[in-house]
Amino acid sequence: MMSLDVRSIVFVEVITTLACFLVVILLWLQVRRRIPGTGFWVGDLALTATGLLLIVLRGHVPDWMSIVLANAAIIAGASLGYAGLETFAGRNRSLLFSAGFLAAYSAVHSYFTFIEPSLGARNINVAVGLLVVCARCSWLALRGAPAGIRQLMRGVGAVFGAYCAVSLARIAKYLISPASGEDYFSAGDFEALVMVANMMLLVLLTFSLALMFNNRFIAELEVERENVSRALRQSVAEIAERERAEAALEKERALYMDLMNTQPAGIFRIRLPADPGRDGTSPLGRSYSVEMLSDRFCQISGVERSFFETAPLGMHELAHPEDRPALVAKHAEALASLKGFSWEGRLRNKGAPAWVHLESIPRRLENGDIILTGILSDISERKQAEAEIRRLNTGLELTVAEQTRELRESQLALLNLVDDLNENKREIISANLALEAANKDLESFSYSVAHDLRAPLRAINGFTGILMEDYGASLDAEGQRVCAVIRENSIRMSRLIDDLLSFSRLGRAGIRFSSLDMEAIARSAFEELTSPEARARIDFSLGQLPPALGDPGLIREVWTNLLANAVKFSSKKERSEIAVSAETRDGEAVYSVRDNGAGFDMQYKDRLFGVFQRLHSLKEFEGTGVGLAIVQRIVSKHGGRVWAEGKPEGGAVFSFSLGTKGA
């Protein structure tokens, strides 16, 4: 009994295959760009459909087409499917094996068609061929493919597994009950069931392929979406990072500018193009462009920033005409040698400092441009200080000259005694060395004076003494008096020499400043000057005296001389009154010694302090006239002043001032 018509089934199968072919084509059109291997499936379905069509046409087309070519097409299609799976799984395609297998299969099929026709053998061959190809497909899909892709291929693998099962069933059936007859279309129900099964499996395969591609497509889209969103996140992060970097840069630039603008010196950076440019009037033969100028630079220059952006000569235009040539020359030299230069000069514009210092370093860039970087400092104060120092130096020289003059005065005084000092006089000039040499000369000269002038004095005195001792008896009263006068005067001469020497020694003495207890010094000087008897007739009062700054030995000499004068000139009064007092004013102390003695006429007050100047006769008061000269010299060496007030028989006040700062 024949319940199923195999040819009809095969025909339906052809239709189904074509439908599946269409579906695969649609799939291919959609995903071919994204998913590799889909084209093989188009080929697979096309060949399968062709094969089935040829089978349906058996009887109407030659047997080699209907039998051999049809089955070869089906196996070839299945092999293309395998190749598609391999491509999908990212494997190398084993086309050689497939081709060999196809050839062997076709040979066996031809053998059992033409040489020893056997439908049973052919059926087994077909089943084995399909089994081999489907087994390969199934194994690849379920086991061989990489794990990630294998997941997508599970459905396809299962379908191919089912194919294998059908093929195994066919083989088993043919081996157990071989087909009778040669008509394939009357092969029986089993073969018809196989056809239906295969047809169902093809539909399932198409579905599972569609699912497989679809899942892959979705997965790839997911990956892509992930990539896109990652890229998006990344670029957002990059943008944020760039913004941060720019903000930091901006901050740094602001800091840099702040730093630059708080520098005491102005900072500049200009670019001189390699090409000299159109501005032939520039002394450098180039125009320039301002790269950077600190505010301070403009401030020191005394012009607006725009000046430097428009003035073709820049700084050169600001330089004082007298100082400009040096600047231009140094600038040109620096550009030629590429070595740094500095220039000090005046600026001519109002409002700018009188003196500036420019320091600059040129650097050549790769393109030949020259960058000049530098600083501009206001050195007016320094210049002023230098001028001040020069002025002070001149003052110092004047002081030295003054001292030299004083020294010369004392020399002249000595010249009154002896007259061979001329040769040394010229050597005493302002220079210290000369002064020292002169001091040495003076010292040995003083020694000679002391030594050599004393000897004759000693002889005069001594021999007059002998005269009086040996011949005193034969001299009358007048003779005795004359001898006494001679002796007195020789003693006086000796004292003059002593005083003069100590006066000249003062000119050479250095001052060692220390804080002085003026009260103690004045008191001890007074007590040293006077005997207890003398003190008994002196009303001595010592006020509060502020401390002073000076040389202890020299200041003591001042007190000794002033107090000695007071004692001496008040000695003719019944009671001497001597008062020492002091007051402080304008940072200096003024010390005074007042007496009630002989006083003096104010019209001679200028002569009081000269060497050997005396306002009283020797008969009235002893003295050499050097004491007050010594006082004046010491006080003026200390930077103080000395003066006197008095009136004849009305007493006198001698005052001197000394600095108290640091005392």
Partner: protein
């Protein structure tokens, strides 16, 4: 005022200024201190006398003066040089040397003491003070001062 150069001498006066010498001798004589005084007028002569050479070759070096009054400003060999020679020689370095000069300004005071001067005296201008100073000197060095026992300070000793 000269005396036998061979005999013992108390005072050797080295003084080039004849007036100063005369005043000195007069002052000393007044107090009977000039009996054994010998006066030389320059440094060279002083050294010859002390070391018994030249004009004084026949003198006995074993009889040194009790004191030498030495002026510093001397012709030929100057006073400091004389002092140095005296103090460097073992035969003479124990003789007291009194430097007698005109001024306390003398820059040589320190040099004189450095070289071993025993005393330094400034000649006063006044006749009386001068006389007193000289006689004080004489008294002190001849009568008060105790010299090294004769022979003790002399390298050669007395045979």
């Amino acid at each position: 005022m000269m005396m036998d150069t061979m005999g013992a001498v108390d005072i050797l006066l080295v003084e080039d200024n004849p007036q100063d010498a005369e005043l000195s001798i007069r002052a000393l004589r007044k107090h009977k201190l000039a009996n054994r005084l010998f006066h030389v007028e320059d440094g060279a002569e002083a050294l010859e006398f002390l070391f018994c050479t030249g004009r004084y070759a026949d003198r006995d070096v074993a009889h040194p003066p009790k004191v030498i009054l030495l002026d510093l400003k001397l012709p030929k060999v100057d006073g400091l040089e004389v002092l140095r020679s005296i103090k460097l020689d073992d035969r003479t370095r124990f003789i007291p040397v009194v430097v007698v000069t005109s001024s306390r300004e003398d820059p040589d005071i320190k040099a004189a003491y450095d070289l071993g001067a025993n005393s330094y005296v400034v000649k006063p201008v006044g006749f009386d003070t001068f006389s007193n100073a000289m006689s004080d000197l004489g008294f002190y060095w001849l009568l008060v001062n105790q010299p090294i026992p004769s022979g003790g300070g002399q390298a050669g000793g007395v045979s």
